[in-house]
Symmetry: C2
Subunit: 251 residues, 2 copies
């Protein structure tokens, strides 16, 4: 009789880890993981908003030339910013406010960004089992999905040019607060993210003003964008990656 | 008349940044920085303790063979652990408790470790202006030195096999709490470290038990080591790198 079988825990929960920068992704084997791409200011907030407002799909691309090329091929709206201005050759910026239903419904958005798009392609290239995107505007949709799948999870903070940032970490903490009972979490990054979110969840609109990225973007006059980007569940759908496109899950 | 000169701030404080993993070091130009190597569990705690107890010098080496070779050349005590056990071929482990004054005074310690030694050599190879080591046992000595130098600072967390860890982050936060008035800090890692230390400074002996590294090392029976390693100022000297050796600054 194999007693050791009976000495195993009755149920083994899937593992959840948080990575604080794209540079830390290659420490993990992502092949059996759902990877949540987090770029709160503002790529994944904009992606959730465009899809929530009826965009047919968002095509995330890593370089500007490809954005222009795919825009021409698909008839999609090209979008991207550098330093708070629309990139020359593209039609729109990286603000969620640019994509109300009256404008984006039924259309394709071809989006290039500095941080979020880069991490998304890294996760795909490393063979992630599934890639979704997360931000405060779609917090609950992300949590519901992760709990339903019972698979290992990596919360991937896109950071800023590989530097740790607080806004992505706070979102990871917000997810962990909602889903932690369903996962095994042996991960100091996750413990920290949960602590930071618990510490600041009630003053997040004030606290976020202390972050480096806030100062960078607010200097471009983007305060109202940033306020929106830390507001939970205002665009509560789940963007999931399918064959080159981000689309609404189960749509 | 150059008005812009007069519009500069009256005094410019040096910058302080925190890196949360050796993998994030290459984002920064360290050539005009003091780099503080932090490996709380346990390399930099052991280094401070050995020097405080009168060791002539500590030679940090990155590989075991080199540790043995330099031990033979110098007549030094070779030391290093893997998985809580002394590495075959070396004489001692990586516990601060192994280096009381009665044993280590006047001697050379040749130490190899997984994380701290690696980051130290990375910082040297990248041309850091100065390299010192920090840990709770020598917290005040580190802070006093950083304030006195008025140079840019990088607090370098050694992490665990490149994964973010809480104990090194808490030490970075403890330093920031003491020195922040003397530096310009535009760095989310530093804001987070300061928050985490402020949150846990009064329950650090309890909180530290939640970290992944505690679980790893406590399973080897090292609890009392770990308690010591989060106790401030019990070996309050400053180890500084000089020509291959860590020695007590100003000695």
């Amino acid at each position: 009789m194999r007693l050791d079988v009976y000495l195993q825990p009755m149920s083994t929960k899937p593992a959840l880890h948080t990575i604080l920068s794209p540079k830390l992704l290659d420490i993990y084997d992502v092949s059996d993981n759902i990877v949540v791409i987090i770029d709160v200011f503002r790529a994944t907030s904009t992606i959730a908003t465009a899809l929530y407002n009826g965009a047919k799909r968002v095509i995330p691309v890593d370089v500007v030339d490809k954005c222009i090329e795919i825009g021409m091929q698909t008839g999609g709206i090209t979008a991207g910013e550098r330093d708070g201005k629309i990139i020359p050759g593209l039609a729109h910026g990286n603000s969620p406010a640019e994509y109300p239903r009256s404008f984006i419904e039924g259309k394709t958005l071809v989006l290039t960004t500095t941080n979020g798009t880069k991490l998304l392609h890294m996760a795909l290239n490393k063979g992630a089992a599934e890639v979704v995107t997360g931000s405060f505007p779609n917090l609950s949709a992300v949590c519901k999905y992760l709990v339903s799948q019972q698979k290992n999870v990596i919360l991937g903070c896109s950071a800023w040019k590989d530097r740790f940032n607080l806004e992505d970490t706070l979102f990871a903490g917000a997810v962990i607060q909602q889903v932690k009972e369903h996962f095994t979490i042996h991960c100091d990054s996750s413990l920290m993210a949960a602590d930071m979110y618990a510490l600041h969840q009630n003053d997040i609109h004030q606290f976020i003003r202390k972050t480096t990225h806030w100062h960078r973007l607010a200097s471009y006059g983007l305060e109202s964008d940033l306020e929106y980007c830390v507001t939970p569940d205002v665009a509560n759908i789940l963007p999931i990656y399918r064959n080159g496109d981000l689309v609404v899950a189960n749509s």
